[in-house]
Amino acid sequence: MTTDLSIPLAVAVTGAGGSGAITAGAILLEAVAAAGLYGLLRRSVGPQIRGGESAALLRFGPRPVHCAGDRCDLLAALDWANHDRFADEIPLDAASLVLADPAGGELPAAVRASGARIIEIGFAAAAAGPGAGHANMVAVGAVGALAGLPLPALLDGAARLLGGKGEAVVTAASFGIRAGFELANPAAALRPAAPLPIQLSPRWRLTGNEAAGLGALRAGVRFVAAYPITPASEMLEWLAPRLERLGGALLQAEDELASVNMIIGSAFGGVPALTATSGPGLSLMLEGIGLAVASETPIVVVNVMRGGPSTGIPTKSEQSDLNAALYGLHGDAPHLVLAALDIADCAHTTAWAVRLAWRLQTAAIVLSDQALGQSRAVCEPLADSSGAEPAARLPAAAGTGPYHRYADTADGVSPMSIPGEPGLAYTADGLEHGASGAPSSRAADHLAQLDKRLRKLADFDFGPDWADIDGAGAENAALCLVTFGSCRGVVVEAAARLRSSGLAVTTVALRLLLPLQRDALHAAIGTAAVLVVEQSHGAQLFRYLNAERALPAAARSLARPGPLALTPAEVVAAATAALADGAPA
């Protein structure tokens, strides 16, 4: 039995698509919450709706969990169908425990070869008793017993998740869970049963897609245009009924070309608007994003990244849309690119992006990814920034002279009128224009407007939110791990391990990628050796930071594509190699 209870426990439930593995994982996460613990539930599914493969990957413990672990402690296989498709996402070793249904097919060779301890439990047979349960619920009970989740928490979790489906469903689930709990041999338990908390402090249970939706609502978004795409659709589905409750509206568009232009129309009308998409949709939206930049119409596009290029791997995570977000627009088009750092931070970063887009009258792309968007966490609630107001424009006032929508002001931001306001009418234009908005191809107008649109962003004080910085501080650090987006979780966990071995480590997780806060990044790095960590094949962040001369010459890169999550051990190994490799320490 693992003695250090602070180390998160990694549990997987797998089965054919439709076997209920994902539901089992969701109930276990609810049980984690009921036991007063923190958890992260990732899902790995194939492209098929039914009959493919599905895995619920849960990691939980007494402290917040933000990334996948190095290994799997406990696997419950409802069956072995298509196990090879995700076997490498569930690393087993001699210390792992595998619960296998003898009726679920032959044990895969790779599982046998791992040396993991195999315990046979007849999930399906136990479910077939008088209560008519389901095999996946028996697995919930057995996993819970061996992972130290108390039976009342498991039953509470099932009631919470399935309560909406009626009493009979909850009763059947409870039967299965009890049966599984009793089948598990207490001597094999990996953890002692966690004591039930006397009082539960309020915690969020939400996905990154839901958190991003919440951030949008907090910042005043009241119009959303939506075209479905994996893995962003849930954000739009979460928003649809909630926008309605708040007097907002969601319009399903015919394609992504339409959705980005619809939100431009809304913002032109003065109503903060947003859309969400993934790589292929982002490609289609780029022309519209450029229009928002040129016409100075504030919009926000949340891009939930998946494996690319082209259709790529729609159901699995990668950070490879960074280049498209940074460089995809034609012409010189200064805009904002932000990245959410964890599930709860999807709310903060999205809200910040909406407020910035309105403050600076430009387009913002928020990068999330499948690992944030479709994973569900039990985490601390994250309050909206203190005193934060809904997104607002710099209003225009009718004066004596004609109104100049694109007036060349000191900070580059011009007062913005909206339809309905008399004396302030103008035509917004994607054609280059003069201060009034009238189209112009004159060199002086082009230069003045290019300068103005750049100055808005270059001179703005973004404050401390540009990055999440943790650790030794620039004067003391021997190593600085630089990352962005969802890789913050794995980098922070790796840094903690490196520190426990005596190394002074700083982590810098970039939330604002464009405009790059280069001076602040220099200051945060100091004289430390640098390792840039990201989940792409092309080392997109590393190349970007180098192009911007933001890194010391000896900086190293750890860039690996999806779909496998980066692990803390991988980051520790790369950091150790980078230091040993002669980088200045």
Partner: protein, 288 residues
Amino acid sequence: MTQTADPAAPHRDAIPSLRAKDYKSDIKPVWCPGCGHFGVLAALTKTLAYLDIAPEQAAVVSGIGCSSRLPAYLSGYGFHGVHGRALPVASGLKAARPDLTVIAAGGDGDGFSIGGNHFLHACRRNQDLTYIVMDNEVYGMTKGQASPTTPPDWAKSKLTPHGTGMPRFKPAAIALAAGAGFVARGFAGDPNGLTELLAAAIQHPGFAFVHVLSPCRTYRPEQQDWKTEVHPCVLGPAHDIAHAAELLQRDDGLALGILYEQRFPVYADGVSADAAGRLADIEAELCR
């Protein structure tokens, strides 16, 4: 529903009666002398004056092309976006601001080729929008290429020296098939008749499509003959879709008037000030 974007926005106390010229801006059009689009601009300003719509309460949205320059020539609010996307911008604006009169405008290439998908779905979505397509059967701004409505044997474009060989896009019939409830055809050379059609279109509850024959003097000089060829649609307007389909099957493309009018439920989902819900309740649900 009233607009909620900015309660502090100034309001016009009383709308004075305005004349057509009050709806024109002081920007000189880029159009060639004799271009049909001047007639559409004149008809639209007359229409807005006739309907007594304050300039700031109307927004005209366009894409790219000669005709899409229209918004800047008006004194109200306008949005000159990218090629083919006038309708999505108009849809988003109308959903966000149901209080506004929203008009999308553009040409045949913009609306039927690059923007063809949006045309289909705007017809069936049936928001309360007006869509004016100034059809001259040619790409003018890029100097004379065949558009979807160009006859198949028109061989004067360097791009298609043997003609397109493709049957023409039939805007009115396609609008009907896609679910539009108001389909009309006007002629730029008949500003009074066009004004009546535009007024009816704006007043129609739901999506209203006005197909305007608007001659291109430069690349399609033969269209000057349209003024003797157009004729009233004696059999219209149809109020029954089967009747309308039959009428449009026999249509020579030059019949003017309301071709089809039928009231369908208007897509009314939009931003509203009178919501009962509170964000705090949504936040609380996340903690359960």
